[in-house]
């Protein structure tokens, strides 16, 4: 470990070296599982193939806290916060963005199958060429003057969300030499309890970059990784207009008692 370059933009290692590190960590996890170690349902904070994590993951165990009142609640969002127009990322400028128009839809649930209604969903992404509207993204792919790549949605009474966008492309980064991220849409989500807060990324089925991507592979558990991949859903596709993807999101469990849940 001593010789790993901690500069996250060093692009020092080869893909083969990164892939070998990933498969060693996955094998280690699978062997531990076979001997009764707990299932890892999220991504590892300490995952050295993702070089940016080296100096930024906690080195000590997380300290157990019993949730107090503030942790048992989340901020409220409503139509003062989010306009319905923010759910269409293709109408934010004078013209149509370039790319494959898609609808992404699904449900926001908690671990006990309860839908999370009237809660804020934020999404952001690169354009159809893999370029972000962000001053630090300077790689040579075109900006689309008709696409910013930011949306906001409130879940409905049944916990459902839906938005219209352009399918993002993969993009290069400097974690290692010739590194490419799997195509993804970033999601930020709230539950009923602040302890359910999560930021994550949704992926598209069949991406050839999955195996090579240390961010995606920082989830050591194969079944857990697949939970980030949307399904193509033809019922969301519309004649001569868009294709569709369905992705349900499951938050951690609420720590409220049933009566506290009901009064919301």
């Amino acid at each position: 470990m001593g010789e790993i370059d901690t500069n996250p933009d060093a692009a020092a290692a080869s893909q083969e070296e990164i892939s070998a590190e990933i498969s060693a960590l996955h094998q280690e996890y699978e062997q531990a599982r076979a001997q009764g170690a707990p299932e890892e349902t999220s991504a590892r904070l300490n995952f050295p193939p993702y070089r940016s994590s080296l100096l930024r993951h906690p080195t000590k165990s997380l300290h157990h806290a019993d949730p107090e009142d503030i942790e048992l609640h989340s901020p409220a969002f409503g139509h003062r916060d989010v306009s319905p127009l923010e759910a269409d990322l293709t109408i934010q400028h004078g013209g149509e963005p370039i790319g494959e128009r898609i609808v992404v839809a699904g449900r926001l649930l908690d671990a006990a199958w309860r839908p999370v209604p009237h809660q804020l969903v934020e999404v952001w992404q690169a354009n159809a060429a893999g370029r972000y509207i962000h001053k630090r993204d300077q790689h040579p792919a075109p900006i689309d003057p008709n696409f910013t790549g930011v949306g906001r949605i409130l879940t409905n009474a049944a916990g459902e969300y839906s938005f219209t966008t352009i399918k993002p492309a993969p993009y290069p980064w400097k974690n290692h030499h010739n590194a490419w991220r799997s195509a993804h849409i970033h999601f930020s989500l709230f539950g009923t309890d602040f302890t359910q807060r999560i930021v994550t990324q949704m992926y598209f089925p069949g991406d050839p970059l999955f195996e090579l991507d240390p961010i995606y592979q920082s989830i050591t558990d194969t079944a857990a990784r697949k939970r980030l991949i949307a399904d193509y859903d033809h019922t969301l596709s519309q004649h001569e207009w868009n294709t569709g993807y369905r992705w349900d999101i499951v938050l951690g469990g609420s720590n409220r008692t049933w009566t506290e849940q009901e009064e919301q």
Binding site: P8, T41, S42, A43, R44, L45, F47, Y50, S53, L55, R56, H57, P58, T59, S61, L62, H63, H64, A65, D66, E68, D69, I70, E71, P75, A76, F77, G78, D81, V82, D110, A111, W113, E122, W124, Y132, H134, K135, G149, R152, H186, F194, T195, R197, I198, V199, T200, Q201, I215, Y216, T220, A223, A224, L228, I249, V250, L251, G252, G253, N255
Partner: protein, 194 residues
């Protein structure tokens, strides 16, 4: 049977055009009679400032009431919603303008819940920012009592001469902040020292 949770992924380096919003760091205006500044710097394991972190606070109001009002994203200047968000600047520094939370339960010390997101952080980290001025309450708080004494100061903000609250976040290192886990909140650290 419970559903398995969706795993987290890093907020990445490119959230600056998407997640911050106007007034996100200003839970009350600076002219509010009880306005206080909560600020500090986020550091990595080499003690270098982290320039691409995003912080959120979520807190009770001055009387210990948990806000239920909407409107954080478009503040009206009057309603206290209890939630704020800000990116750090290029020197890793953040600043919120807010009021000090009251205690929500007798016998516990009041705190801001602080959530940290960053490039390099595969999942969000939670910590609590306690107020420094009530040593008696701090000593009596059951959660603080559960934290080893040596690490307890990482959870307590400091009051400067102007009355501001200072709270630095150390992701690693000698002064590594105590980060929290909760029941039913899956989080995977990977190998740790203790």
């Amino acid at each position: 049977m419970d559903l398995k949770p969706t795993p987290a992924q890093t907020v990445g380096p490119f959230f600056g055009f998407a997640l911050p919003f106007d007034g996100g760091e200003k839970l009350v205006s600076r002219s509010h009679p009880s306005a206080v500044r909560l600020h500090g710097t986020v550091y990595d394991g080499h003690g270098a400032a982290v320039p691409d972190a995003l912080l959120e606070i979520w807190q009770a109001d001055e009387h210990g009431r948990v806000p239920r009002e909407e409107g954080s994203l478009h503040r009206d200047g009057y309603t206290f919603t209890g939630w704020g968000r800000t990116p750090v600047d290029s020197t890793g520094h953040y600043s919120f303008t807010t009021v000090e939370p009251g205690t929500t339960r007798a016998g516990t010390a009041p705190y801001f819940l602080l959530t940290v997101f960053a490039r390099g952080l595969m999942d969000r980290l939670y910590t609590r920012v306690y107020l420094p001025d009530s040593p008696h309450t701090l000593e009596a708080d059951p959660f603080l009592a559960s934290v080893p004494e040596r690490r307890r100061p990482t959870l307590i903000s400091q009051r400067d001469d102007q009355g501001n609250l200072r709270f630095d976040v150390h992701l690693q290192g000698e002064h590594e902040t105590v980060f929290l886990s909760y029941p039913n909140t899956p989080q995977v650290t990977g190998p740790v020292d203790d």
